[in-house]
């Protein structure tokens, strides 16, 4: 009896082992591309926007892979075994920093890769950065200290909402790549210059679009606090955000906070609120319903869309956002302008 049991158990274990092994045979070429970079510099970035920028500067001299792809939220990401491999293969790892992708330093450390981790926003001079809780600054009369916390002492990492800040990031990327591969310095400089010019034109175009929005309408109420740089650049006032945090990972607003946010919307005369793609929009929709204001189409702030989406490149993302905002706030976008 006991022997029979042991024999069956053995059979069971070997059967499971075979099943497991069979399941473990993926087409290898798909999982680990053989020497994907060729002789090009292998670079890994935390998320889709950074990938685009590094590709723009590096051109054919680099191969860039991203941990979080399009439509992936870089705030919340669970690393997988293949990511360790990406870390180890990379010549340099780019991130934004200031807890934008809080998992990145941990992943970098545990991979023990020799590649340096460059957190671009943290490399910029502190005085050029904006505070994370911008929306509270013009409300000193009220006492709502519930937003006070350690994390908000960090600057807002969403620099790219101001195109001039993105241009600073491009400069940093160019400098880093040049340090790693000085012999390609001319190529990087040329690529960076071309992209910078594109961004300058984009900035000019967006400013002209926004100029059609009546001054008194330039107010933003959004899903989470990511519009500080945008507001600074384009002369908007940030009325508030549903989550009151720059991260998508935060608790939902409490009943008292919701009441206060609704009050703020009413006081400010905001007619439309702007949820962002990817973050839970239930809170902002609920607030809009209570305050009886419209809800605009989703804005893209933290990542690119898939190629068939409205924000498949950084320039398209910014155009999509500004077009949505301008049209919702009573301005007009000249199509031939594009």
């Amino acid at each position: 009896m006991y022997f029979l049991f042991a024999k069956n158990l053995f059979r069971l274990i070997s059967l499971s082992a075979i099943l497991l092994l069979a399941a473990c045979q993926p087409p290898e070429a798909e999982v680990w591309p053989e020497n994907p970079g060729g002789n090009r510099l292998q670079i890994v970035t935390s998320f889709s926007l950074l990938q685009e920028w590094v590709e723009a500067v590096g051109g054919d001299a680099v191969v860039v892979r991203s941990f979080v792809g399009p439509e992936g939220d870089p705030h919340t990401y669970q690393a997988r075994p293949g990511d360790l491999r990406k870390m180890v293969d990379a010549a340099v790892v780019f991130g934004i920093g200031f807890e934008f992708e809080s998992w990145l330093p941990r992943l970098h450390r545990s991979s023990e890769t020799p590649a340096p981790l460059i957190l671009l926003a943290e490399s910029l001079p502190a005085e050029s950065l904006l505070d994370g809780h911008h929306c509270d600054e013009h409300e000193h009369g009220h006492d709502h200290h519930h937003h006070h916390d350690h994390l908000h002492d960090l600057p807002d990492p969403h620099l790219w909402m101001d195109i001039r800040m993105t241009q600073k990031l491009i400069d940093l990327i160019e400098a880093e790549l040049t340090t790693i591969q000085p012999e390609q310095a001319d190529v990087f400089a040329e690529n960076a210059k071309a992209y910078q010019e594109k961004l300058t034109l984009l900035d000019r175009q967006l400013v002209s679009w926004i100029s059609t929005v009546p001054e008194e309408n330039r107010k933003l109420f959004t899903g989470h606090d990511v519009f500080a740089y945008f507001a600074e650049r384009f002369g908007f006032e940030v009325i508030g955000s549903a989550l009151g945090s720059a991260s998508t990972e935060t608790k939902d607003p409490g009943a008292g906070e919701i009441r206060e946010l609704i009050q703020r919307i009413r006081d400010s005369g905001v007619q439309v609120v702007f949820p962002e793609a990817g973050s839970d929009s239930r809170a902002v929709r609920r607030i809009a319903e209570e305050a009886d204001v419209a809800v605009a189409p989703d804005l893209y702030t933290d990542y690119l869309s898939l190629p068939d989406g409205p924000a498949y490149t950084y320039t398209e993302m910014m155009r999509h956002n500004v077009r949505t905002i301008v049209e919702a706030l009573g301005g007009t976008v000249a199509d031939e302008d594009e």
């Binding site: 360790l84 998992w103 990972e249 608790k251």
Partner: protein, 270 residues
Amino acid sequence: MSEALDIFSLTAVRRAYLAILLVGIPCAVMGCFVVLRRMAFIGDALAHTVLPGIVIAFLKGFHLFFGALVAGIITSFGIGWLSRRKEVREDTAIGILFTAMFALGILLMGQTGSFRDFEGILFGNILYLDRLTLQAMAVLGGLSLLLLASVFKEMELVSYDPSYAQTIGIKTEKLRYLLLLLLAFTVVGAIQAVGVILTSALLITPAATAALLTKKLPLMILLASLFALLGGWGGLTFSVFTNFPSGAAIVLACTLFFGLAYLYRSVFRK
């Protein structure tokens, strides 16, 4: 193939395999008692109750691990105390304290504004382990196993037949507190490494698998440990090759063994 294999030379991957050993065995051993005493809920509960501990530790600037441990110990004693008489059953006590502690954690989290610092502990990733965490896991796991071994006979008796154990003079209440305390050690050690869901799965699933195949406790413990290692290492290997998320792959591999054992039992032992 050589391209695929060299990922195993990475320290982080080797640490993940080691972590399965350090966490899987204590979880599987403790899990046998948990399954025998029908308190499967406790793993999930303990894993959640550490939340207020880590939030307070964060606010006061202690190491989060310390906060988790204290909260785990408080919860386990709270469960023991609340269910010491028969008015409140143990599973009810677990249900009340688990939700209360978790709610307290959310409340306290309102003071900090963001979840992200706690993410590491609540949804720990087996690929992020550093040396210190592994050492903490080894100490907590080893301590639990040693303490358990020192009272193994009594604990076995109490788990199978508490009233008989009491009549022959075993202090069942003390043993119950001890078991809850050891569970807190094990669970806190494990969540730091692998997160809440995986901890609960490693505690219950291998033990439940073993319980399907034998009623003898020593053999059950042996089998549970074996299934924890097979499921853990198998799932991790699968995840390394396919790049599926490691935690989910491990849980599903453990569940696969449970399914096979269930099938085996249905076929061979009517």
